[in-house]
């Protein structure tokens, strides 16, 4: 085998060697700064490495003390540091989750089913149903006052419908509505029809590229279509454990077709660009706000952070989403939560305590909400802290979140979501009429049931 190695020429070895040395050098130099960071709090390990008790937590990248955003990093690092100082016998291992959500959820499910899950994992409300039976109860560690402090809709979602125990601690809540240019619009439109007229006028008067933007790719059902259908009395998913699709029932089908027709007419009138079907992320909307391309956008309260940070912040405001015929909007909320998977009672108590100090306690939630631009889920956070009692965006968020209901999260939700997203794309691109698209979506969903 050695002879083979000798067979390579000196030149190739030197090439390899120089590349390796270059890489090694780069790595050492660049790795150095992270060592200089806080002594107790490093990217992966909090507190002394020899502490007897270990807690493993898995937050999402953007919601962790490793996030790209400086404000979030500071808030969390501070909270983690102070907790670690008060608990010298505990060390926390942080495994940040990054990348594709669906793959992460699948891996965590595997872990949990095999009993190898981390002690605490961040879960999105959309995936609640998948983890209810696997997560451990927070009940022994929460007082009645604590539980009552959470918004009613949020508390309902956090509770496992089968066992009645609180399985999640939701840290942020978002809802969706209408973002609008408050410097150009005095009173936000009361109906979708009025929105269409306003958008057309503003586009003509001020030369906007288009009238309304929305992320029309994956998630369009969750953020836009569902509230719009439910507000006019229709329904897409039943409220049961399976999230049984019901949009083929005559009244529901009608409602869905009406909503899709409104969107199609907006596209035909040049007010909604046809390429919305390719966009899904916050960044897509925020970048267009920054570029001043339109006066209206359907979006979640979660893009508030981005808008606040952009150069256009003062010009934008948030209002409940107008509905067809001026119907009262029915908002949905969702967000991120922590779930616990360890059986060890001592660890469970420690974890609840840790989470209360860093993310889910009244003080922590308010701080985190302010830094991240998120709306808290606790009444005390909403009411007491100045970040949320000044007029402005935060008030609008708080008002919206208080009455919202939890987004559906049953077994078939993902299937229906994919089918409806697809139907929307087909309607917007003109491939199918709204009625055809709805029926095609139903056919797909039927195959999966």
């Amino acid at each position: 085998m050695l002879g083979f190695v000798k067979a390579r020429t000196a030149m190739s070895w030197s090439g390899l060697l120089s590349a390796s040395v270059l890489g090694l050098g780069l790595g050492l130099v660049m790795g150095a700064p992270s060592l200089v960071q806080a002594q107790l709090v490093t990217p992966e390990l909090i507190d002394r490495a020899d502490a007897p008790i270990t807690l493993t937590i898995q937050p999402r990248f953007g919601y962790s003390h490793q996030s790209n955003d400086e404000k979030r990093r500071l808030v969390l690092t501070e909270a983690l540091e102070s907790w670690a100082a008060r608990h010298p016998d505990v060390k926390i291992e942080v495994l940040v989750q990054q990348g594709d959500d669906a793959v992460i959820v699948a891996k965590r499910l595997q872990d949990a089913a095999a009993g190898r899950a981390a002690d605490a994992i961040m879960v999105e409300t959309l995936d609640y149903r998948k983890f209810y039976s696997l997560a451990k109860s927070f009940d022994p560690y929460l007082s009645a006052a604590d539980k009552a402090d959470f918004l009613p809709g949020v508390l309902q979602g956090m509770t496992d419908p089968d066992s009645g125990a609180v399985k999640y601690l939701q840290i942020t809540s978002y809802t969706t509505g209408l973002w609008y240019r408050s410097d150009l619009v005095e009173t936000p439109p009361a109906s979708l029809e009025e929105l269409a007229t306003m958008a057309a006028k503003l586009k003509a008067d001020h030369g906007f590229r288009y009238g309304v933007f929305l992320p029309g790719g994956t998630g369009v059902m969750n953020y836009t279509l569902l509230p719009q259908v439910v507000s006019i009395g229709g329904q897409i998913l039943a409220d049961d454990a399976d999230a049984t699709p019901v949009f083929n029932e005559p009244a529901n089908r009608e409602a869905l077709i009406k909503v899709l027709t409104w969107h199609k007419e907006m596209v035909d009138g040049g007010l909604i660009p046809a390429d919305v079907i390719s966009f899904t992320s916050t960044g897509d909307t925020v970048s267009r706000v920054e570029a001043g391309e339109m006066p209206f956008a359907f979006g979640g309260t979660f893009i508030g952070g981005g808008i606040k940070g952009s150069s256009q912040a003062e010009k934008w405001a948030f209002a409940p989403m107008p509905q067809l015929g001026g119907a009262t909007p029915v908002p949905y909320q969702g967000g991120w939560s922590w779930a616990m998977f360890t059986d060890d009672v001592q660890k469970q108590a420690l974890i609840t305590d840790l989470l209360m100090d860093t993310y889910t306690g009244p003080w922590a939630m308010a701080k985190w909400g302010e830094a991240g631009g998120y709306t808290p889920t606790r009444l005390s956070s909403l009411a007491k802290y100045t970040g949320f009692t000044n007029p402005g965006l935060d008030n609008a968020f708080a008002a919206a979140v208080q009455t919202a209901r939890l987004t559906p999260n049953g077994r078939l939700r993902d299937v229906v979501d994919a089918a409806i997203t697809n139907a929307y794309a087909q309607v917007i691109s003109g491939a199918l009429s709204p009625a055809e698209a709805v029926d095609a979506a139903w056919a797909t969903v039927e195959l999966e049931m």
Binding site: G3, G15, S20, L26, N68, D100, G306, G373
Partner: protein, 289 residues
């Protein structure tokens, strides 16, 4: 190719041909480099500049601020090192394992030869996407999850079929009479392999090196499914942290661009350094035809 001057106007034809070739080169270079150049320009813009209208190719001021941020405030250095380490280790391992196998296919006759070659081809057809989740469960059972060693073993395995085929092709081109002569003189098989075949197969080894490095550098699904800890991630995954959407509300395009350029650099540098040698190896070699 000898010049045939008896053709009328051969010099003009020649010059026309050269001009045509240069034109073709220009088109190819623009096509190949434009996206990279555009991203390079993006990486040197400030975040506020990104949404200027009208959009411009060149940044207003050449700013290395994004690079400084990416290099000092993020763990990109470590991810680069991870990529380099994983790629080089798996390349070395793969060639070490595949060369003897290619020797067997080239220099020996055995009944299982054809079926085995076909099996190798079948393995070549497996996309990492289709085995991703079973791989995760399997590795969990083996205890190889979240380790560089586990990832290297899979990288090697994935590249074996192609490397074996490639090396077999180059070994086949070396006349068997050469290593047979050595064996008649008393050399063992291993010796004839080492002393005769390998040196003559340098172009093949160089090609195997290149293909393995490229394949290892680009690996995405496998490290994504098998690795957890941020300190182990290669750069092909780490860059996703800068993709629009990962951090809500942040305008991260310049950082994404900078991270992408940084991610391309090591492999590009290796190419430029080894450029002449690689091409010489691919085109040279003692054997033609």
């Amino acid at each position: 190719m000898t010049r045939d001057d008896s053709e009328i106007g051969s010099a003009t034809i020649r010059r026309l041909g050269n001009a045509g070739l240069y034109a073709a080169y220009a088109v190819a270079v623009v096509f190949a480099l434009f996206p990279i150049a555009a991203v390079l320009m993006l990486s040197m813009k400030q975040a506020s500049e990104v949404f200027n209208w009208p959009p411009s190719f060149f940044p207003e001021t050449l700013s290395l601020q994004t690079y400084i941020y990416v290099l000092t405030e993020t763990t990109i250095g470590r991810m680069l090192w991870n990529s380099i380490f994983l790629t080089l280790a798996s390349t070395a391992g793969c060639i070490l394992i595949s060369a003897p196998a290619a020797y067997a296919f080239s220099r020996m006759r055995f009944r299982a030869q054809k079926p085995l070659l076909l099996t190798l081809l079948v393995y070549q057809m497996i996309s990492s996407m289709v085995i991703a989740l079973p791989l995760y469960r399997y590795y969990e059972a083996l205890g190889l999850l979240d380790s560089h060693m586990g990832v290297i073993l899979i990288y090697i395995t994935v590249e074996i079929p192609f490397t074996v085929w490639l090396l077999k092709g180059f070994f086949d081109a070396i006349p068997p009479s050469l290593d047979e002569a050595a064996r008649i003189d008393g050399a063992s098989r291993i010796q004839s392999f080492r002393i005769i075949i390998l040196p003559l197969a340098k172009p093949g080894l160089a090609a195997a090196l290149i293909f393995n490095v490229i394949a290892g550098w680009s690996q995405f699904i496998i490290p994504f499914i098998l690795l957890q800890r941020a300190e182990l991630l290669p750069i092909s995954i780490g860059v996703l942290n800068f993709a629009p959407g990962q951090t809500e509300g942040e305008i991260t395009i310049p950082y994404l661009a900078a991270a992408s350029i940084i991610a391309m650099l090591p492999a590009l540098v290796m190419f430029v350094i080894l450029q002449r040698f690689i091409v010489q190896a691919l085109t040279g070699g003692a054997v033609k035809g």
